[in-house]
């Protein structure tokens, strides 16, 4: 018993000291684990896709038909938006206004997810010019999170669903309807502090707003799943289904400048 107590005291002391060098200790393990983690991530993604194809085989045909129809609608919409974009550009030039710049991006790959919290590890770090608080998105401009900690060749990304994450957002095509997205942990989001006067419906698309300056404007966040409205509360809330799905994403982009 005495031996066990002595062992416990020793490990508590060792790990207390190790916490002063936790960044270096983690960086050491990440550096040689990264290739193995990348391999497991790819295998997991492929296995997951294979298994979901088997279990959801009956729904696939229906989903395929729906997606084809939606794709056709989106092609028409993209053509209309391109036309508007060109018009907008010409008008801005005519009025001598600054044109919208595309983001300066850095490409990275996800190699692992934190065991207990909403964090992921990507394979770019300080050496690649990555700094803390830089936003992280997918190639479809879907918001994933922001850089919370950087190492030499790796960075930790705090997902938007993390409990400490909050930022301003709005509903697509309703500029006046704004609120705050709060992470609830475990890939859950809440759209909070929405004015009672605004109409929010399931299926509404949530985008980032320019208030707060944490993220660039108009990045996709999620879709309203359920609205909670009560006359006894000062604000209404909505449960949000995030658009990003880390088990189906390997590639991400870090916004270096916005």
């Amino acid at each position: 018993m005495r031996k066990i107590l002595f062992f416990i005291v020793i490990i508590i002391l060792i790990f207390s000291l190790l916490n002063f060098f936790k960044k270096e200790a983690r960086s050491f393990f990440y550096s040689f684990s990264a290739p193995i983690q990348k391999f497991f991530w790819r295998i997991g993604e492929k296995s997951s896709n294979f298994l979901s194809a088997i279990f959801k085989a009956t729904d696939l045909k229906k989903e395929k038909d729906e997606l084809e129809f939606e794709n056709q609608e989106l092609i028409i919409r993209v053509a209309e938006l391109n036309k508007l974009k060109e018009e907008n550009k010409s008008l801005k030039q005519a009025l001598n206004l600054e044109l919208d710049k595309d983001f300066k991006l850095a490409f990275a790959q996800i190699i692992s997810k934190d065991i207990s919290q909403d964090f992921i590890l990507i394979n770019k770090g300080n050496q690649d010019g990555i700094l803390e608080n830089m936003p992280v998105i997918t190639e479809q401009k879907v918001l994933i999170g922001r850089i919370s900690e950087t190492y030499k060749n790796f960075s930790k990304v705090m997902l938007i669903s993390h409990k400490e994450s909050s930022f301003d957002a709005k509903i697509l095509n309703q500029e006046q309807c704004s609120g705050v997205i709060r992470g609830l942990g475990n890939f859950n989001l809440l759209f909070d502090f929405i004015s009672l006067e605004n109409e929010v419906h399931p299926g509404d698309i949530i985008l980032t707003s320019c208030l707060g300056g944490i993220f660039p404007e108009n990045l996709l966040v999620g879709e309203v799943k359920k609205v909670k409205k009560s006359d006894l509360e000062s604000f209404q809330q909505a449960e949000i289904e995030p658009i990003f799905n880390i088990s189906k994403s390997s590639n991400v982009f870090i916004i270096l400048e916005f």
């Binding site: 066990i4 190790l18 983690q37 991530w41 934190d114 065991i115 207990s116 919290q117």
Partner: protein
């Protein structure tokens, strides 16, 4: 004992990698099974109560859980070590599994 310890360190290292990179794609409602916790508990239930190898094993498992998470290093070590001690005390005082005692 040292050989067994090294074997378990390697096993826990790979379990931590599998948990954080492979099992993520098979999460249920966002939850991923904690393979290291599962192995530590099973080992300590099956181990003879007078042996203490399971406690050292729990420390190693907890260390790798901490390295691949965002928590303080030592957090999972302390939880696992104390859990194992409680399991051992409980099994020693209240449970007898005859075929394991042989």
């Amino acid at each position: 004992m040292i050989r067994n310890t090294l074997i378990f360190i390697v096993i826990f290292y790979f379990l931590a990698l599998i948990q954080t990179s492979f099992m993520v794609h098979f999460s249920i409602w966002g939850l991923v099974p904690n393979l290291i916790l599962f192995l530590v508990i099973i080992w300590n239930i099956l181990e003879k109560s007078k042996n203490n190898f399971g406690i050292y094993q729990a420390a190693a498992g907890g260390f790798f859980l901490d390295i691949f998470s965002n928590r303080l290093i030592g957090f999972n070590v302390i939880i696992l070590v104390f859990s194992v001690i409680i399991i051992k005390l409980f099994l020693k005082s209240y449970v007898r599994i005859p075929f394991l005692e042989k």
